[in-house]
Symmetry: C2
Subunit: 463 residues, 2 copies
Amino acid sequence: MRPAQRSHHETLALRQQLIGSSCKLFFSHDPVKIVKAKGQYMYDENGRQYLDCINNVAHVGHCHPDVVKAAHEQNQLLNTNSRYLHDNLVDYAKRLSETLPEKLCTFYFLNSGSEANDLALRMARQYTKHEDVIVLDHAYHGHLTSLIDISPYKFQNLEGQKEWVHVAPVPDTYRGLYREDHEDSVTAYANEVENIIEQAHKKGRKIAAFFAESLPSVGGQIIPPAGYFQKVAEHVRKAGGVFIADEIQVGFGRVGKHFWAFQLQGEDFIPDIVTMGKPIGNGHPLACVATTKQIAEAFAATGVEYFNTFGGNPVSCAIGLAVLDVIEKEHLQAHATEVGNFLMKLFKELKTKHLIIGDVRGSGLFIGVDLIKDQAERTPATAEAEYLITRLKEEYILLSTDGPGRNVLKFKPPMCFNMEDAKLVVDTIDRLLTGTTDQKTVESDTGSLRCISFCTTGVMQSP
Amino acid sequence: MRPAQRSHHETLALRQQLIGSSCKLFFSHDPVKIVKAKGQYMYDENGRQYLDCINNVAHVGHCHPDVVKAAHEQNQLLNTNSRYLHDNLVDYAKRLSETLPEKLCTFYFLNSGSEANDLALRMARQYTKHEDVIVLDHAYHGHLTSLIDISPYKFQNLEGQKEWVHVAPVPDTYRGLYREDHEDSVTAYANEVENIIEQAHKKGRKIAAFFAESLPSVGGQIIPPAGYFQKVAEHVRKAGGVFIADEIQVGFGRVGKHFWAFQLQGEDFIPDIVTMGKPIGNGHPLACVATTKQIAEAFAATGVEYFNTFGGNPVSCAIGLAVLDVIEKEHLQAHATEVGNFLMKLFKELKTKHLIIGDVRGSGLFIGVDLIKDQAERTPATAEAEYLITRLKEEYILLSTDGPGRNVLKFKPPMCFNMEDAKLVVDTIDRLLTGTTDQKTVESDTGSLRCISFCTTGVMQSP
């Protein structure tokens, strides 16, 4: 019934004709057509192999055979809603519970991180009977109406900030309000939240939740200083609010040392609600909210049913279980630590050579390389980052940028990304920064090599 | 890694321990454990076969081999986001566009009907620059924060009606404000909407959208009189608003005569936005919004990207295409007309025998059987309906109720539901209504047989 494979030109033309133009393409001036993928590699219609440094959804590797097999076996047997008893649902909840602090023992399954964050918001409000939400600046929590409201990254371009939303500074010790030279950035950043709460209270407003990614991603691949969440949680809970950790981009072992990124803050920190998405199903639409008995009970006390048509169906749960199995079986957490450390080491070495590299930060395979125009002001090297990304694509390496300055190279590859891949990327970036024949370079005031001739193809941020 | 199949008791215990109690089970006092399904049949852990009269998600039949095959083939090849060009995305949009009026030519793919309705709402507001929404009473449009606000079925039990929401009476000519004896129920119901708009304007409010299921389902399996949508659309568009047809439960040929339920209103009616979900992927989390170029362009004009991580991935689109193929190949639309007409004919015959049957209405395999206590008042026979559903389950027939009175037996089976299935259900209901040894019956004032002894197990409405 379907036509044979369309030409690149034809696919693009049909896309422009039929798909809403709000849905953007990577490299919109010269988009890539991908027809196949395996592990950390993607292949275009001409069989060219691309190294994928950015797809954190294909968590255990594109088209992992164990995940594909689990989906197929369950698809042949049963795929129905969660109003019937099924082992996959409870087995999956049980397995997830084993990765979390004991307190987070009640689960809800959904189809996307956005659905999870929306539910978390509803729960926080139901439990606290408060309305207001504190978020971090530049945060992105999803595409739904309720989430655009709590996403400064989005609402700043739309109708603006709602009266029930409060924006706290990102605990970014490199480019933020309090930096690495501050004597106690943890307390200073947490005090900002305390101050927001006080101001809100003065206006008669009440805090339902502090809502943050455990590691702010769109915000610029930020690693909040350890202890920050504990102090924030103290302030927020004192105000009757809850702490929601958005693990949609950063959970499932990506940070290496821990299974969940919030655990980087220390063992004494436990969020009240955790949301999961993206990598959870290796591409299958799946998401989860985990919370405490108390919050779950308050949510149920309204008597209103929560029904999610596809959420928690046997196929989704089989896939979720298979992803957990692969992470364990292939020791992907340890692998992320090893490869991530190696990649950061290489970039830190490169930093001594190219002053455009201002900061290298990360944990496991969640890494940001912050490009700057000058050492003093740390001005984001936006155009240079864009140029680099575009040139890398020509070298068949898919990388992207993040941060309000769009100057942070973000690494969040499939977890099977290996040492050779790391070396290839860093070597290529070294070569591109060193200057090749097709770019003019100038000696900047601080001595760093900067690209002043760059393409302006539409590279965009991607959560 | 996983335990062997758990006992019914163990699965239930783990579910109660791990899954939020807001997520309800069918027949919660004696839930069914389903381990397998095929076509219109489901099987429990003891191999008992149930006839499924309610799962409108397993649209072309549970575990349809063509759909399973399409998923598996694509899962092995590639599953990534829609920021790369891919044929499945454009092929699928093209195929869907062929089922719709030409004007509805721009597509967005998502993971759930709720996501689709939320996007439709955002678009309507962006396009009209208005805020308010008119919905039908008892409507249910999804589980998200923004959708509970426009779902009287839900918000009546929660914090109540927002100032930007207006509730119009359901165009129900059997139990509604204007009935079959009204000389012009179409105009009368549409005038109610006109009146709401006038009242809103007096308060300085502006209408963004009229948002309705093409056939109100949770509202009680209602068939709005033909011509109603045209008149409503006229009023709403005059006020600068748009018409959103929610086809999540009722689209994809279910109504038999047409592919979309809004087409029952007549060829001269075209919504501005159509939302699709549930049956679209035969259980796979998939949804779609179709709209006009104008609305899509207004939505894009904000410059804010719309990115849905899983939406429109090659696997989801392959599955969506396979579902369309099966509907066509197996002539399921014609089949729905034939079997649906037969089922309604049988129920209409039964109506002459059992006065508890007040109304039989429907189109294709979307059918409601309205049970009443008395002919004069048409009082909903809520308890009787619940009893019937519970007894049917004991006869291995899965049926459910809908409507504010929970008295409407709703048929929305997989589209392969056949004549024998129809006969079996009606014969069984006949037998149960006629009275068996395990129920006491009384002659009601209007002569109908009513069950006065019934179980009170938790049967619930399900959208």
